[in-house]
Symmetry: C2
């Protein structure tokens, strides 16, 4: 049993590394959007775009995570990127 769990955890660690990399790439792109907006005085906070991102994730979600869980995780991701844009 412990061998099976250790193997599954190794695979989870690999996925976590991928997620961490993608998250930081996303943050980098969000910062570039922030800089592009700053040039024209556009608002960083764009609730319509944030809502569209969440709806898109709900639509594309293959499961097993449910809509509520996916929304919570992506709301956290969006907030983290927005805070970086506002610095």
């Amino acid at each position: 049993m412990q061998d099976e769990i250790n193997d599954l955890r190794k695979r989870i660690n690999g996925l976590d590394e991928q997620i961490l990399r993608s998250l930081n790439e996303r943050a980098e792109l969000a910062m570039r959007i922030g800089r592009a907006k700053a040039k024209t005085g556009a608002e960083v906070y764009d609730p319509a775009r944030e809502r569209a991102v969440l709806e898109r994730m709900d639509t594309l979600n293959p499961g097993p995570l449910d809509k509520g869980a996916v929304e919570e995780v992506f709301a956290g991701i969006i907030t983290a990127c927005r805070e970086l844009q506002m610095r």
Copy 2:
């Protein structure tokens, strides 16, 4: 400016799709761990393992997201997976 923002958003959408896929694969593996634990009556909630995942992400984090942001996002991911294991 709008063209640049639209291009950056398309790239963010692509990253979000990757993250969504990895999240659900992670959830699938977590469910398998839950089933393996259930066979032996082991507890699903394992705070030492959860802490180790967060510390690992802090160590591997390349930025620009800071430690606090990475911890918040991964705490959300861990909670979503744990809730699925407990169903």
